[in-house]
């Protein structure tokens, strides 16, 4: 089921064209997704804002994942098993348009993404 062929694959990226939240990405991204899920509670968002790295460590995130979150690297977070529905809660802490996150997934500039994918 995973990974329908996609003519628009970008070289140099290793997110599959259509990643599905299956057993493997559940396993891979579990801690990241759990941390992101926690941001649904206002107290957690406060703790995250007050000391982000400490907050991430509390959920046992490894170095690579903490770096991806710190950089708000949406491409890398998904590569590490993050699922967009969860990591969107990170984007709510310092708001960023979902189309920027989409562009990062596609490996395109925001402008190209809006034009080529969304026809805007």
């Amino acid at each position: 089921m995973a990974n329908a062929p996609d003519d628009q694959n970008q070289p140099g990226t290793d997110i599959p064209p259509t990643p599905l939240l299956d057993r493997d990405s559940n396993l891979r991204g579990y801690k990241l997704n759990k941390m992101a899920m926690s941001l649904g509670a206002p107290e957690s968002r406060q703790a995250f804002k007050a000391d982000e790295d400490a907050y991430l460590r509390r959920f046992g995130l490894d170095d690579a994942t903490r770096a991806a979150v710190a950089a708000r690297d949406w491409h890398e977070m998904v590569r590490l098993g993050g699922n967009l529905f969860f990591i969107l809660k990170i984007s709510a802490v310092d708001p960023v348009p979902i189309t920027s996150i989409g562009a990062a997934q596609a490996g395109m500039s925001h402008e190209d993404f809006l034009k080529e994918r969304l026809g805007k």
């Binding site: 599959p16 939240l21 529905f85 709510a92 979902i98 969304l118």
Partner: protein, 282 residues
Amino acid sequence: MAQIIGGLGTSHVPSIGVALDRGLAGSDDWKPFFDGYDYPQKWMRDQRPDIAVVIFNDHGNSFFLDRVPTFAVGVADNYAPVDEGWGPRNIPSFKGAADLGWHFADQLVESHFDPMICREIEVDHGLQVPMELFCGRPDEGGEWPVKVLPIWVNTIQFPIPTPQRCWEMGEVLRRAIESFPGDDRVVIMGTGGLSHQLQGRRAGFLNPDADRQWLDTIASDPDHWRNMTREDYVETFGSEGAELMMWLVMRAAMNRDVSMLHKHYFVPASMTGAGCVVLENA
């Protein structure tokens, strides 16, 4: 006995709620989208349903990956809007149609379905947005004009249920409503889609041709859509657009022959093909 007065289908894109929160419904960007909901809102006012059955998926808000139910049925008296990370939205809670919820749960289990039964749970934009689109947002201090029976379908973590199973659940839903004592008027809202994909290199994928075909034929030729595989849905509508199969629950609860009173399409709403239909049994 209760009566099914119609079936509605709609997108439930969260940006729709955000546009409403920010008062952007009349903006150039959004007006053509919201205009398509004038007719369904009038239909709801004229038809005066008592209960809305809302079929939707949670988006990592009420359920985490620790425990993922394939189907869940609400039997609560009240459903508060869940905080999706942006803080609470200024909309009223939803009163639950708990009696119908339990009756449906009984019918499901007797019919060899295995739902999770939820008595204390919040609801995300998957239910909120369709209610706002079809009922309009209540005035400050006001209430929603209908009670809700939420039905959650897992469309996020694989294995997701098959389109065929969604259809079968709609058949049980119909029997449950039509055997429910009283004279409640029930509208069924199938929600989700249309085409979109949020992640992976295919992010931003839209398929307006398929979306239009869906809206054109969901009334007249549901078997076409019922017979597709989960893989077909992902490929045709995108990984998140596969949500569209939840409309099948609504469609299966209606007669084989239905009249399509209204159809509306708009693309893109945020990153999504969006629209709605209004169906009545013929």
